[in-house]
Amino acid sequence: MAERTVAVASRVGLHARPAMLFTQAVAACGVPVTIAKQGGPPVDASSILFVMSLGVPHGEEVVLTAHGEHADRVLDELVALLSTDLDAPEAGADAAAAGASS
């Protein structure tokens, strides 16, 4: 099992557009990934409903967990994604491209 802790960089937190881009990237990676707030129960990171309902504000840390042989690489990519401001207009194009290529 691989695990990473990362602070959410998007200004609006993990809501709306950033939540959409993140869950799309998780769904595209092909590995089951969970996300949890510090000390909270882990939920399915490919579900926008679960991810939004965590209500993670800007700057708060989340814990990502994945299993399987590509778990480390997948988590590194997702950490990079959460460390960018996904609400910036240009972030969409990059993230969409990253999702399509993986």
């Binding site: 609006v12 809501h15 869950t23 579900s47 409903l49 939004m52 309902s53 209500g55």
Partner: protein, 575 residues
């Protein structure tokens, strides 16, 4: 028109609360409600209860069809409608929603109960998160309704596709439903629930559509039945006879006659009362300027429209462009810009107050300056720039001011940004009671009667069943309006009204009688108000104000004022 019992059977006149003044005749188009099915409804295939595998397949197919349908609708739509539909499609496509529902089905749970269980879990989480997320529960439930209908082979719920102009009838309309309406084909909106100051009523008012809310029994009408909708009387008459149709024709003729008078507002004896329009966007300003409704300016520019449904605040450049476009459209006429009135029922994704128990009493309107000061700073800077770019000087006012100190701070910030004429909204009773102190700090005030009634009567604007308490004719609300108007007269400063009550011709006379100097309303309401003013003297208005405040209830007050009104005005406007 004869009196009828509420919820009369088809054929009788149905009664509700009207919004606007117009009357139309057209066929009913029902917005299908959520399928009402017991949670343990069992799916049948060829008369036999479906197996778990068959149910699994049916639910999975229903999800796929709903997602495809919503995506196709989103692709065919534009603007806000497209955004709302795309967001709903994304929820329907959610991985966890589908897999958890299917897991419950596989465990032998009936399909509707399985879906309801999962939807309720998410709805509870969203509601606990509050703010923006709580609003999304409506979208989540609409996904649920669509999937249930597909699984059970029922007609798709939601807004129908309109082939010809129709009277849209619904139990209640969610913002997503309203957004999905093809407005060119909507003659009127009638709802069984909702309130006269709720979302649907305000949208209908802005579009100039007649609207009647709280009409019991209206959802029992069949699609295609001709109904006569009278917003002034608050009635819906199925199968209108020739006499009623002719009466509506006469009213339309009178309306056109009223519309021909586009001169500045004044009483019969020449006391000037500025008649202004409420707008939400620069495009609204263009429509108002082009409409020939004779708006002498804009009394309320609701800037929050620029901010809602966005994940981050618009930049100073974007805002400057929007404000400059509105100022240009009005061609030098007065434009009163209200700074961001977000919070409570209008949450922002980027300034959400997640933990508020009472959002209407929380960090909303001007109070956002405490947690997000850059929002106001950016907005005032953009207004200053729009003024430079257009050479037109806007007025600016802040919503939800509660103290003279807040008014002073806002005035200082606005003047520092170069906006010279500064005012505040009077929505909080505290400000009405201390209007003299507040007016010492600013150049004008504007009464927001919807919120003033909400806070005076301790009645949530969104609770339709409490609409009687929220009535602007409530003597307590009128006392606060009168106190504010008197303070304005004493200071020699303008006191406007920009709430719904300004658009009620009878109430407009009362407001003028109290000393209100300008009335701002949906542009469609201007002709009737202008006509009522023309036919009454200032002295008559003063007598009406005294009668309204002398009554001990809202209904008594309105009746007393109606008795004092000129018969010609009562008849022409169907008051």
């Amino acid at each position: 028109m004869t009196a009828a019992t509420v919820g009369a059977p088809a054929g009788g006149v149905l009664h509700g609360v009207g919004v606007g003044r117009r009357a139309v005749v057209g066929p009913v188009a029902q917005v299908r409600p959520a399928p009402v099915v017991p949670g343990d409804a069992v799916l049948t295939v060829d008369g036999e209860p479906a197996t778990v595998a068959q149910t699994h397949a049916a639910v999975e197919r229903a999800f796929t069809e709903v997602v495809d349908g919503l995506r196709a609708q989103a692709a065919a739509a534009r603007g806000t409608v497209a955004d709302v539909l795309a967001a709903t499609a994304q929820m329907a496509a959610d991985n966890a929603l589908r897999s958890q529902t299917l897991a419950r089905v596989d465990a032998g749970e009936p399909p509707v109960a399985a879906l309801d269980g999962v939807v309720q879990m998410f709805a509870t989480m969203f509601e606990q998160a509050g703010g923006y997320l709580a609003e999304r529960v409506t979208d989540l439930r609409s996904v649920r309704d669509r999937v249930v209908a597909r699984v059970l082979g029922l007609p798709d719920p939601g807004v129908p596709h309109l082939d010809h102009p129709s009277v849209v009838v619904a139990r209640d309309l969610a913002p997503a439903d309203t957004a999905a309406l093809d407005l060119d084909k909507v003659l009127a909106i009638v709802t069984e629930l909702g309130g006269p100051t709720g979302h649907t009523a305000i949208i209908a008012g802005q579009l100039g559509l007649p609207c009647v809310v709280r009409v019991a029994g209206v959802t029992d009408l069949e699609d295609g039945v001709e109904v006569a909708v009278d917003a002034a009387a608050g009635t819906v008459t199925p199968h209108p006879d020739a006499g009623l149709r002719a009466a509506y024709e006469r009213r339309h003729a009178a309306e056109e006659l009223l519309g021909a008078d586009a001169d500045p507002g004044a009483t019969a004896d020449g006391h000037a009362v500025a008649l202004l329009a409420n707008i939400g966007t620069a495009a609204d300003a263009e429509r108002v300027a082009a409409s020939g409704a004779g708006a002498e300016g804009v009394g309320l520019f609701r800037t929050e429209v620029l901010f809602l449904e966005r994940t981050q605040a618009p930049t100073v450049e974007e805002q400057t462009a929007a404000y400059a476009a509105a100022l240009r459209a009005m061609g030098g006429r007065k434009v009163v810009v209200r700074t961001l009135d977000a919070g409570a029922d209008k949450p922002l994704a980027f300034a959400a107050q997640h933990d508020e128990e009472n959002p209407a009493l929380g960090v909303r309107g001007y109070r956002l300056v405490r947690s997000a000061p850059e929002l106001l700073r950016t907005q005032l800077e953009a207004l200053g720039r729009a003024q430079e770019a257009t050479g037109t000087t806007p007025w600016v006012m802040a919503p939800m001011i509660a103290t003279a100190d807040e008014a002073r701070e806002f005035a200082a910030a606005a003047r520092a940004a170069g906006v010279a004429t500064v005012g505040v909204m009077v929505e909080v009773p505290a400000v009405a009671l201390r209007a003299r102190d507040v007016l010492a700090e600013v150049d004008f005030v504007s009464l927001g009667t919807n919120d003033l009634a909400q806070y005076t009567m301790a009645t949530d604007r969104l609770r339709g069943e409490l609409a009687d308490l929220l009535d602007a004719w409530q003597p307590a609300v009128l006392d606060l309006v009168a106190t504010t108007a008197a303070a304005g007269a004493e200071a020699g400063k303008p006191v406007g009204v920009c709430g719904e009550s300004a658009s009620d011709p009878l109430m407009a006379l009362v407001l003028v009688g109290m000393g209100v100097t300008s009335l701002s309303m949906a542009a469609g309401a201007l002709p009737a108000v202008r006509f009522a003013l023309r036919r009454h003297t200032r002295e008559q208005c003063v007598a009406m104000a005294a009668a309204a405040r002398g009554a001990r209830s809202a209904a008594d007050g309105r009746a007393a004022v109606l008795a004092l009104a000129e018969a010609e005005v009562r008849d022409t406007l169907a008051l």
